[in-house]
């Protein structure tokens, strides 16, 4: 505990907020001591024999905290609960029961509230639920689940006080109202923040402008964090700066956790002076620098590029200025000379946090969770739950009746008469949604697939799982990759694509989303064949770390798939005591086998060896080396011979052989199927269809005679029209002599008839009855 409080902390203390008995929303700039205040509240709870939860948005930050706090509060008191621990019944370093301070990711606490009965021994003892970076409530993916989690926790433990922390909230008061608490903000910063803008005429000037600005700070001994819009760009810029004699490293989510830790510690120890990062460094980690450069003021939003929100700019700029080392921190924006609307960034008018819980997909999921956990069993009860949501406070329409009906019709919920009441209950399908923390649409899509396709190939299954909204990460596909992807796909056998229309219906996605799902499926396939993530990453233009996350995601989806298939195979399961269980269906075995293949990176007949209890990936590799490559060869093996392998007793070998001879009858045969029909792009158009399609997504603004500003791409561009009628653009594509998308956008805006006709022709070609990756690329999502 520091001997003196800083003005921000003093303000919180002067208002007795942490002793008020109410929940508190605190808005304080980065580095002004929010975590210290949380620690103080937690300490007081601990002294009075109560527990606290600290919700951390990032696993890495949780790891960092647990190390610090274990020293301070005693390691027996501090437990870490993130996706990296407690897998498949594994133990946590400190159990839920024993931890008085629980450092968790929101997803883990979500799981605890869903199965609250198993956690009832500790939930009522919690005094503080600290939600760090509470603006995450507005996050499209994680926000609704966080909101549902907080809501359930408050109902299960009405004594819990929420301490919400953030540097950027546009509606602090509203959040405090939702939590029935109080709020406070302070703008005191340990180091004053100075905003600067560096202007460029053309985007090509950005790297050299950056280099000179960074070098200026560097000469004075200051460090810089540069925020850019993509991983590739972070690598390029770091390389470019290094080539100019500057000491720069890149940092993004494609790097493994350990690699990131190495980069962070190099920066912390001043071994490197520049970090070029993506949004990974936006939240959490204590990593200040004298200068923060916002290299890109726009980010890819899933469809196109849109301006960065003020909240994001401040989350990043907040890292500027190292307490005790710098007199001031510098937030530097790189902007084109003609862009005038950037003053609002430095003013810090933050966007309000909007609840996403009323969206049909998230509402359906939350309804299921409430019913499944037994916390709401009737429509009235559900209405009461969601009437206290942030969405309700924000006057969003929450249609419980319609969504409940949808879930009933989809077979996720059912009605049951209990005495004189009719109660809602989750079906087995609904159970799958809640148990695996999936969206209902994911489970519905999988069910539809298994119900309508009695026979499917491994690739079909990988693709359908990859096409669900819960598959992550979504590997991006570059235009340049389409040819290679087409070639790789043509080698894949598929039952799914025997009927294109049906395949489209089952997959439920198109355009770049489908391209991404196809790439995900191919990457996983390559992983199964090679068992080497580094090699696959190299070949497919992604990162090994992404493949590991994809494997984790696929594991969860295939586990859920197996439960769904079981529900289809046995709609009315017999009693557990009944020993006459029917044998597993072929489809179920196929799913289980594929899951083992994905988990272990194995393919072919050897994969079936994983069905034997006690045989995992490493044993399979050893068995293969010993000449045992399938269940059949294991069944025919000699136990004495097998036992020559080290650490394999003859008894165990005999057991394996016995298991193999029973199992080999059950291994499903390879599904015979045709290859996926694809075709290369052969659309004959005046202009490049890709650029034309992109042109339609750009915004054109007339500036002055024969000058247009074009935005919506990765950089804002200016297009001019020469007297001879030719268009010029500031982009590198035009510089290469191509007719760039920016000038096409201007021509479309000027009603160029030829272009409009080309666009119509292109659309007419979209109904091609085979998988046209280029066509998918052009599709608007």
């Amino acid at each position: 505990m520091p001997p003196t409080l800083n003005p921000a902390q003093q303000k919180v203390e002067d208002h007795f907020l942490l002793k008020s008995g109410f929940s508190v929303v605190l808005q304080m700039p980065t580095g002004s001591g929010k975590t210290w205040l949380a620690k103080k509240a937690i300490h007081e709870a601990l002294v009075s024999g109560k527990r606290s939860i600290y919700l951390c948005p990032l696993k890495a930050l949780a790891e960092e905290l647990v190390k610090d706090w274990a020293q301070e509060f005693g390691k027996e008191n501090v437990g870490i609960f993130t996706g990296d621990y407690g897998k498949q019944g594994g133990k946590y370093p400190v159990s839920f029961q024993k931890a008085n301070i629980l450092i968790m990711t929101p997803e883990r606490l979500d799981g605890c509230t869903r199965s609250w009965r198993s956690h009832w021994s500790w939930i009522p003892e919690v005094d503080w639920l600290v939600v760090d970076e509470i603006h995450m409530l507005g996050d499209w993916h994680r926000g609704p689940r966080l909101e549902g989690t907080i809501s359930r926790f408050k109902r299960l433990n009405p004594f819990t006080r929420i301490l919400g922390l953030s540097a950027t909230l546009g509606n602090r008061g509203e959040l405090a109202d939702w939590l029935e608490g109080v709020e406070l903000d302070t703008d005191w910063r340990p180091v004053p923040l100075e905003w600067k803008v560096a202007r460029y005429r053309k985007p090509e000037e950005k790297p050299s402008l950056l280099a000179s600005e960074v070098a200026r700070v560097n000469r004075e001994g200051g460090q810089t964090i540069v925020f850019v819009q993509s991983r590739r760009r972070s690598e390029q810029i770091a390389k470019l700066l290094s080539e100019q004699g500057l000491n720069a490293l890149h940092h993004h989510a494609g790097l493994t956790h350990s690699k990131r830790r190495v980069v962070e510690s190099a920066f912390r120890n001043n071994q490197t002076s520049i970090l070029v990062a993506t949004s990974t460094l936006e939240m959490g980690l204590n990593l200040p620098a004298r200068q923060v450069v916002l290299y890109d003021l726009q980010a890819f939003d899933g469809i196109g590029f849109s301006p960065l929100p003020v909240n994001t700019i401040w989350q990043r700029a907040g890292r500027a200025g190292r307490p005790g080392l710098d007199d001031s921190g510098e937030a530097l924006l790189l902007a084109p000379v003609w862009e005038r609307n950037i003053d609002h960034y430095s003013k810090g008018c933050f966007e309000p946090i909007r609840s996403g819980i009323a969206r049909p997909d998230t509402l359906a999921e939350q309804i299921l969770v409430e019913v499944h956990s037994g916390l709401a069993r009737t429509e009235n009860q559900l209405k009461r739950v969601f009437n206290t949501s942030l969405a309700a406070l924000q006057k969003q329409t929450i249609d419980i009746q319609k969504n409940t009906l949808n879930m009933l019709n989809a077979g996720m919920l059912r009605k049951e008469e209990v005495g004189d009441r009719i109660l809602l209950k989750a079906t087995r399908l609904g159970h799958v949604v809640c148990r695996h923390q999936l969206q209902p649409s994911t489970v519905l899509r999988l069910r539809q697939f298994f119900e309508s396709l009695k026979s499917f190939t491994d690739f079909d299954l990988l693709l359908i799982a990859a096409s669900t909204p819960d598959c992550e990460p979504r590997l991006p596909v570059d235009y340049e990759e389409l040819e290679t992807l087409t070639e790789e796909l043509v080698r894949q056998p598929s039952r799914l694509f025997e009927d294109f229309k049906h395949a489209g219906d089952l997959l439920g996605i198109g355009g770049k989303q489908l391209l991404s799902a196809l790439k995900n499926a191919l990457v996983l396939w390559r992983w199964m064949v090679t068992g080497d993530t580094d090699m696959v990453a190299e070949e497919e233009g992604c990162y090994p770390f992404e493949i590991h996350r994809l494997i984790e995601s696929m594991d969860r989806l295939l586990l859920a798939s197996a439960s769904i298939q079981r529900a289809i195979d046995e709609p009315f399961p017999a009693d557990q005591e009944d020993s006459s269980k029917p044998p597993k269906s072929e489809a179920l075995l196929r799913i289980e086998l594929l899951r083992q293949q994905i988990l272990n990176g194995i393919e072919g007949p050897a994969a079936a060896l994983t069905l034997v209890d006690g045989i995992g990936a490493s044993w399979i590799r050893r068995l293969i080396a010993h000449g045992v490559c399938s269940l059949k060869s294991l069944a025919e093996a000699d136990s004495q011979n097998l036992a020559t392998l080290s650490k394999l007793s003859e008894k165990r070998a005999t057991d394996w052989i016995k298991q193999a001879s029973t199992l080999q009858q059950r291994v499903p045969a390879t599904v015979q199927a045709g290859r996926i029909p694809t075709r290369p792009s052969d659309i004959d158009l005046e202009v490049d269809p890709y650029r034309l399609r992109r042109a339609t997504e750009l915004n054109v603004k007339w500036s002055q005679s024969n000058l247009w500003n074009v935005t919506g791409g990765s950089e804002p561009r200016q297009v001019t029209k020469a007297e001879n009628g030719h268009f010029n653009c500031s982009c590198p594509d035009h510089a290469k002599g191509n007719t760039c998308k920016h000038q096409l956008a201007v021509r479309l805006r000027l009603n160029d008839k030829i272009l409009h006709q080309s666009f119509r022709n292109m659309n007419a070609n979209a109904e091609i009855p085979y998988l046209d990756l280029f066509g998918l690329w052009f599709e608007r999502n």
């Binding site: 008995g21 109902r155 009405p158 004594f159 029935e180 916390l375 069993r377 009737t378 009860q381 009461r384």
Partner: protein
């Protein structure tokens, strides 16, 4: 003012106190939700002998265990005299169940901070002979428990039963100088409608037992609590807070019950009700914050 208090192995109870009743087992799942919060809301908790037998995890606050003698009011129950003491035969299932002073005391000594002696309630209009027998055996059981207790740190309360003010006074007199840690007045629930009578009984007992702690069983309705305390009661136990919550009723707003309350709605209502009724007890201190956050 120095408040009257009672030290128990699990903590000190400051009087006056409202003691919530809870149960164990599967019959009332709501109690399982409320229980972990009772240490924040109450000074002690009351569990009936029948439910205490099903207790797996002990609440972390002083535990009162009654004798279960109220089962004498169940149809088919019989009160028998054995070796000069009163024994209760309960006929609910196929096999009759026997509740004896020694079994009750033995169990209480294993688990209770405050134990109540085995008494036999006397409902209004019970014939005089049976009433007299019940009172006699109630007193004998109490004095037997006093003489046979082994744990000196367990507080032993003698239970009073009677059919009118005078008989109740006599029973109190029998205990007044018998070194009990406190006295408990039973049999008032069927007479609760006649508040005057109840208050007179309380005053009569108070007069006889001087400043010994006085507990009253089962009269936890918030409107009555203040009056009972001014008449000299130190502690009251009741499950009324949870019964109202189960019906969707909040004592803060009793006229607009909630329809179809969910488990957590009921939990919240029960805690609200407990806060409300505790607010009727003078000198409340640990509940203020909670009430504030609900009002």
């Amino acid at each position: 003012m120095i408040r009257k208090q009672l030290h128990t192995p699990s903590g000190t109870i400051q009087f006056p106190a409202y003691i919530p009743v809870t149960t164990f087992g599967r019959k009332y799942p709501l109690d399982g939700l409320i229980q972990p919060y009772l240490p924040r809301m109450a000074q002690a908790v009351m569990v009936s002998h029948h439910y205490a037998l099903q207790m797996t995890k002990r609440p972390r606050l002083p535990l009162m265990i009654d004798s279960g003698g109220f089962a004498a009011l169940f149809e088919g129950s019989r009160i028998l005299e054995r070796d000069g003491l009163g024994v209760l035969e309960i006929n609910l299932g196929e096999e009759p169940e026997l509740l004896t002073p020694w079994d009750v005391l033995d169990f209480q000594e294993q688990h209770a901070d405050i134990a109540f002696t085995l008494d036999f309630p006397i409902p209004p209009n019970l014939d005089k002979k049976e009433a007299t027998l019940r009172q006699k055996l109630t007193i004998k059981n109490a004095l037997w428990a006093r003489n046979n207790r082994r744990r000196s740190d367990m507080r032993l309360f003698a239970c009073i039963q009677g059919w009118d003010i005078e008989s109740i006074g006599r029973c109190a007199e029998a205990y007044a100088s018998a070194s009990f840690d406190g006295i408990a007045l039973g049999g008032m629930v069927p007479r609760a409608k006649d508040r005057k009578l109840v208050l007179s009984c309380v005053r009569e007992v108070r007069k006889k037992i001087l400043d010994l702690p006085l507990h009253v069983f089962g009269l936890g309705h918030p409107e009555f609590v203040e009056e009972l305390i001014s008449a000299g009661v130190d502690s009251i136990d009741s499950s009324a807070y949870v019964k109202a919550a189960a019906d969707g009723k909040s004592w803060f707003d009793p006229n607009t019950p909630m329809s179809e309350p969910s488990p957590t709605d009921r939990l919240r209502l029960a805690l609200e009700n407990l806060a409300f009724v505790s607010g009727k007890v003078p000198g409340r201190h640990r509940l203020q914050l909670y009430e504030k956050s609900f009002m």
